[in-house]
Symmetry: C2
């Protein structure tokens, strides 16, 4: 049995560990500055790849990320598995009923939002392939179709993430965008399957066969399979150990679907994506099982895949500004024009139509995945690949802020954003609410350049109007202060409990002092809502008594709400 050598295993694990650690680290940094995490993850790969690390330390790079041999093959297998599992999760996020429910508008947005960039891409790819960096020897029709697809496909996971960040994922507008994106992606993958078929990637069967079987497979997976799974999943869960039975079933189902689509000549990820759609649609897939799969895949396998993108090419040497600008222009103009038109035809007002189109314009993940495949099959050059990655990064970057601007949205603000390390008292000395407020106000004074008396007075005034114990052991004394630039949140813990006259008669063991600017734009209410939601989680209330310092308190409250 062929086996990896000792040094290949060493290199493989070291490479995986370094890639994962740096991808997650830069992903977190990206988030901290308000950018999508995927940007940081891709950047980590670019740093480790031939662009930076590879050109600085070519020998180390050859050891860690070998281009050939057993280590390279094992790495390729792992990354293929990673992207296949990521597509499973992306598929699971899709709610097919949403697609049908939002009906007319979503359909218009999807069709027109797809048609324009598709047409732009196809025309450019067909009539001016040189402009797009077409290289001799590639299949001209496949190339034009590929350019059309990659410019018209959207980035479902990124879009979903942006909508969640903006707090409009479940709103009518959010549902329109998601439904349109789902429809868009399904169509895009179907066209891409045809492209792969044309390239004879399968080589196992003729093109007509591939396309026919793809269509049958798609219909089977989105129409028949959800019904079957509604019978199968409860049966599996009823007759096997939990959650092993259902996890094993879901993953084998995904792997077999992936093997099938790979076999009929389109890529494995197409099968796992549809397996995800079918599984995700079943109300019988337990929420906890879903979470286990999603978390492990999203935070382990996905970062590894996105980081691996940067290992493939040198992003400096292959950067072609003109090509990148052309691709960016075609993609964004087509998508925004088409989607706006579609939303208007569907009856939305102009401003909302523009919002929808900006939402649809994020073309990150899926475009890159197609690009990776096209690069592997030598359909596109490294220059186009780099341009596609840059296009994906730029559109994903712009989408959120543009939508926010045109729809006049604000990101939901969390209390942790305004809670400095100096604003924490592990054990309040106070035994009643008035002195507790004063104790926290003394801490707040220097942080905002006010006297503690001024703060105390404002908070007392508010507290006298109505007590601020909100129950479940939490109190939220607060006030607006003139001349404050940003909100400030302080926390004091009181193991003994302090009476804040809460409706449920519990004493408060966690006391928040919330100071907001005088011209409050609603931030105070958002902070209060965030605190209430955080302490609704029983686990948080139970464990808050065990924390020993600011960092542990922060770690605990962060785990209450995924963010």
């Amino acid at each position: 049995m062929s086996q990896l050598s000792h040094s290949e295993i060493t290199a493989l694990f070291l490479a995986l560990g370094l890639l994962l650690a740096s991808a997650r680290l830069l992903g977190e940094l990206a988030r901290a500055t308000g950018l999508p995490a995927v940007l940081g993850e891709i950047t980590a790969g670019i740093l480790w790849g031939p662009t930076v690390f590879g050109s600085l330390f070519p020998q180390w790079s050859a050891f860690l990320f070998p281009l050939s041999g057993g280590g390279a093959l094992a790495f390729d297998g792992l990354i293929t598995l990673a992207i296949t599992l990521f597509l499973l999760v992306a598929g699971m996020e899709i709610d097919l009923s949403t697609v049908w429910r939002q009906g007319k508008v979503a359909l218009y947005v999807a069709l027109l939002g797809m048609f324009f960039p598709f047409a732009f891409g196809f025309m450019a790819g067909w009539w001016a392939p040189g402009l797009l960096g077409f290289q001799q020897g590639a299949h001209p029709l496949a190339f034009a179709l590929f350019m059309a697809t990659v410019l018209s496909i959207s980035a479902l996971p990124i879009i979903a993430k942006i909508l969640m960040d903006l707090n409009i994922y479940r709103s009518d507008l959010g549902v329109v965008i998601i439904a349109a994106a789902v429809f868009n992606d399904l169509l895009g993958w179907l066209v891409f399957a045809m492209v792969l078929g044309m390239l004879g990637v399968g080589q196992m069967m003729p093109l007509g066969y591939t396309i026919g079987m793809t269509l049958v497979f798609v219909l089977l997976m989105i129409l028949v399979m959800p019904l079957l799974l509604n019978q199968i999943l409860p049966w599996v869960q009823a007759h096997s150990s939990w959650p092993g039975g259902i996890l094993g079933f879901a993953l084998s189902f995904c792997l077999l679907a992936a093997a099938f689509t790979e076999w009929i000549g389109i890529h494995a990820i197409f099968g796992s994506f549809l397996a995800g759609v079918a599984l995700g649609d079943s109300k019988h897939l337990n929420e906890r099982t879903r979470t286990t799969i999603e978390q492990f895949v999203s935070f382990i396998f996905a970062p590894l895949f996105f980081a691996s993108i940067g290992l493939r090419v040198n992003f400096v040497d292959n950067f072609n500004l003109l090509l990148t600008l052309i691709i960016l222009l075609l993609a964004m103009s087509g998508k925004i024009l088409g989607s706006t038109l579609g939303a208007r035809l569907g009856g939305l007002p102009l401003r909302e139509s523009l919002g929808v189109s900006f939402g649809m314009s994020a073309q990150g993940t899926m475009g890159i995945i197609l690009g990776v495949l096209a690069l592997q099959f030598e359909l596109i050059s490294q220059e186009i690949f780099v341009s596609l990655v840059v296009m994906a990064l730029v559109t994903s970057l712009l989408s959120g802020p543009l939508m926010q601007r045109v729809l006049r949205l604000k990101k939901a603000r969390r209390f942790v954003n305004f809670f400095p390390p100096q604003g924490f008292i592990l054990r309040l000395d106070s035994r009643d609410r008035w002195s507790a407020i004063h104790e926290l106000a003394k801490l707040a004074g220097p942080l905002i350049d006010k006297t503690s008396e001024e703060i105390t007075r404002a908070v007392y005034a508010r507290e006298k109007m109505m007590a601020t114990g909100i129950g479940q052991g939490v109190a939220v004394p607060h006030a607006r202060l003139p001349g404050l630039a940003a909100p400030l949140v302080l926390v004091g813990l009181s193991p003994a409990g302090i009476d804040f006259d809460a409706p449920d008669t519990t004493t408060a063991k966690v006391i928040f002092l919330i100071l907001a600017p005088q011209d409050d734009d609603g931030v105070q209410l958002e902070i209060l809502a965030d605190i209430a939601a955080t302490f609704k989680v029983a686990e948080i209330r139970e464990k808050v008594g065990n924390v020993n310092n600011y960092v542990e308190f922060l770690a605990l409250v962060r785990s209450a709400r995924g963010q």
Copy 2:
């Protein structure tokens, strides 16, 4: 960049999907008949390997499980990752403080339980290597040390599982066994690291270096790292998104530790095991994060690894009865003798000492993992490998029943074990408790060959003594019946709710009718406790109104308690 070909990817995914599905299926079958799941998982691999599938369909086998080429290397990389992650989870299950807390007894059991089989194995391997199938060319001292280690190491994951099944995991006796097994495994791995070093597996550094660095690494990971992690983990969780930050950190930590131990000349799994010990010991590793890792690894990666064992050799051709019996005898006699002696010296009575020794005698997983490595490095022949796997299977099989017998334990019985498909009414017609009992009794009659009147009478009599509404929407009318061979549980749902006079004044929406034999050995109480525990889970109470049939009801209640 070397990449897997289209047909290699097809074969890889197909092989993974088939292996996972069959391993989980046979694993579930094994559990259903009361055996450890790992037995079924290993059997699945033997069926797919050269023993059965490979000799029946050699061409298909060569396609699915190639012995060389890119597919084989990618598969090897994945399986190596799988076992590395499994050892991370095995390490996370270890609670170092337990080891120190149970002090004397555990230490005696560990040391003597290790010493005897180690001595037996070493003497046999050194003075009579021929008897153990020593093959020319192997390193004699390494061989003797390997036999000693493999016969003396215990199977922590299996032992933990058996103790949980017997419901004594948290009992004093259970803690002694676990603590001894942990100590045993740590020692065993240390010796095995030396064996690997002797074989020059590392080839990167001399043996003295390997042993020295191993010792330093072990001390670092079990003494220093837990303290460091208690600082680092809250910090990571406080400053990153949840649960992405902590998941990414834990997995990169594991991969880097694995790369390190592989580099210093011992296997990657040693590093991930210790990384798991260090991580698992931290109280700051959130329970949900832990669960995500454990579930994904235990139910996806572990079955793949255990199934892959059977792919390595032909278990029929290489089966040597004499060798197997010798190994079995040495392993069990040494372990049981040593552990019993240790427990007696530690002050336990004879019966409990025997129980401890039977608990320690499960030598499944770890032994096999060592065997796989030894086979790879050609230290042992295929015949010994087969004998080791059989020994592991047999000892794991015997351990539970022997312990049960000598400690006079019973497995906890669950109501689902006595709840037939015919015993379910989706919507009770009844509006009061007396007619509800009668309605369920009519259903029960034919199932146990009694008239419904007889049943009704007995249950009414009990119900009149005291109402059986236990609150939270559940009622449990019950009775003992003469001549009943086994308990019977029936369930009726009542969306409108029926008053069973519960202490919390809720009406019952789920009514259990529980019929137990006259000479009840406590099963009725166990069933009642199980029902109460199941419906303590809020999610179960919320969702029980949505089930549409028996299978969905069963699926729901199974998910309440992992089993």
